[in-house]
Amino acid sequence: MYGSASTHDIPTKATTGLENEDPILLAEFEARIARGEKIEPTDWMPQLYRKQLTRMIEQHAHSEIIGSLPEGTWITRAPGFRRKMAQMAKVQDEVGHAQLLYSAAETLGKTREQMLSDLVNGKSKYSNVFNYPTPTWADSNVISWLIDAGAIVNQMANAKGSYGPYCRALDRICAEEAFHLKYGHDAVVHMATGTPIQRKMMQEALNRWWPAIMTFFGPSDKMSTHTEILMRWKVKMATNDACRQQFLDMYVPKIWEIGLTLPDANLRKNEDGVWEFSEPDWEDFKRVINGDGPCNAERIAVRRAAEENGAWVRRAMQQPQAKYVRPLA
């Protein structure tokens, strides 16, 4: 999992700051990206590029650790040895992804401590889907399969982006996500084809999660203009709508195939091969992403408690003579 639907600061002509950049360096930077070269930490880059990437990788990292919480609560309740061990390994992978991503973001100049501090202080965001509750084991399975599936669509695209450390982290992350997808699919199939109690649990979980899944890739491109420069710099590799269409095309048939239904009467593929669906409730999306969702406070409270309870360990680890060294990859 888990990152996606990053909320970019939308650059407008007035705020890009590009007029302050050296035009020769900027032209060379853009030419390198156009040639498909990777930008590395010590290379010259415009401030806007550094800022947008930091924000994006940081949000992705936060999404991994916050995303590990709703699934993590099911580790201790997973039914049977096989699921218990797999759930643990799966969630552990997500925390490992956060570790990789914080390192990638640190190459841009912001420390992990600053990023975690911004997370608990509400200054930086994470994927909005984790502000919704996971009341049953089936909800956890839906996340493992479909949220991870959505993340793969997004991350496979971003792995072809321009920033070297982020691309390399994404390559490794996607390889692990592919296993999560198999795990999640297997768990959902067992439930969807299981006993009446299991089938009911799974259908209800899917109904609960579908609206959030539909918002996972972020607002429609009609609503978020100005992505042109981010696409040109290969920070953003695919539009929100393109990702959503790809996801629907890959997974709706699989969901229907195992006998589950989706709570949207308008969902269908039209003759042009484009998926039609009821417009998600973007007002609700905005309300939740801005802090007023069912689980925002709880997620941040858990993270804050972990930070506070562990502070003595981090203090003890700090050697007075130690200097911060920015990782290079």
């Binding site: 309740r77 299981g194 203090r315």
Partner: protein, 249 residues
């Protein structure tokens, strides 16, 4: 109880319950690397318990899932140390240190057990436990020599945890036969080796090991007597499994 069953249930239940506790560190560790480390150890311990429940199944006991997910407190033979809530990192680290030193020595000895299937499992398990002990030693040495605050916390955790740790070595009625049949070297010998092993590490820190002779071991776990913390853990563990016992999850 049959000495093999008696020994296997104690070993398996310890691993299952501490594995479960270690997994609760997800999302709560002092640094991300510790979330990951505790998860790795939890996965290992769960795997060890599964291997041991499979040996029990071969001896005629129920399936591992049934044994692990449907028993209640009085049927569990873990020591009380393993069932205590994770508390803060100092306690969890000290528990991990005290328990895994005993576990490594235990499985090294079990590698020579007269019961060949157990010896085979032990040879695999001891290789993994080596890393658990390495992890515990690294952190105990680091925090046990760091700030005054860390040393004070670690010392308090050590003093709180030691009586429970001595409960690891509680024996049952089967002990004489376990030793005479060559199944295992016995708890008294294990405890002797354990004291030497932890003393060696603690000597490299600012922590003080109290005189263990003056402590009263917290026992009962091996006989099905547990703290109030075990049943809620078992209820949580079985919450989904028991929703539909006929289901394949």
């Amino acid at each position: 109880m049959n000495p093999k069953l008696d020994l296997l249930y104690r070993l398996a239940d310890d691993q299952l319950i501490l594995g479960h506790r270690n997994s609760e560190w997800n999302g709560l560790g002092p640094i991300l690397e510790e979330d990951i480390a505790f998860s790795s150890m939890a996965q290992d311990k769960l795997g060890h318990s599964l291997q041991l429940y499979m040996l029990l199944h071969e001896l005629g006991e129920a399936e591992p899932d049934t044994v692990a997910f449907t028993r209640n407190t009085p049927q569990f033979h873990c020591c009380q140390l393993t069932e205590l809530p994770i508390g803060e990192y100092d306690f969890s680290l000290i528990r991990h240190f005290l328990f895994d030193h005993a576990e490594l020595l235990r499985f090294e000895a079990l590698a020579d057990s007269s019961y060949e299937p157990l010896a085979l499992v032990a040879r695999k398990v001891k290789g993994e436990l080596k890393y658990h002990v390495l992890h515990a030693n690294t952190w105990v040495k680091r925090l046990g020599t760091a700030t005054e605050e860390a040393i004070e916390r670690m010392q308090a955790a050590l003093e709180f945890t030691l009586p429970y740790a001595l409960g690891i070595f509680e024996t049952t009625e089967a002990e004489p036969e376990i030793i005479s049949s060559g199944l295992f070297i016995g708890e008294a010998e294990l405890q002797r080796r354990w004291e030497a092993s932890i003393s060696k590490v603690l000597a490299q820190t600012a922590l003080t090991l109290p005189d263990l002779r003056l402590l009263t071991p917290v026992t009962g776990g091996r006989h099905g007597q547990h703290t109030e913390h075990l049943q809620p853990l078992l209820d949580e563990m079985a919450e989904v499994f028991r929703l539909d016992p006929t289901a394949d999850w």
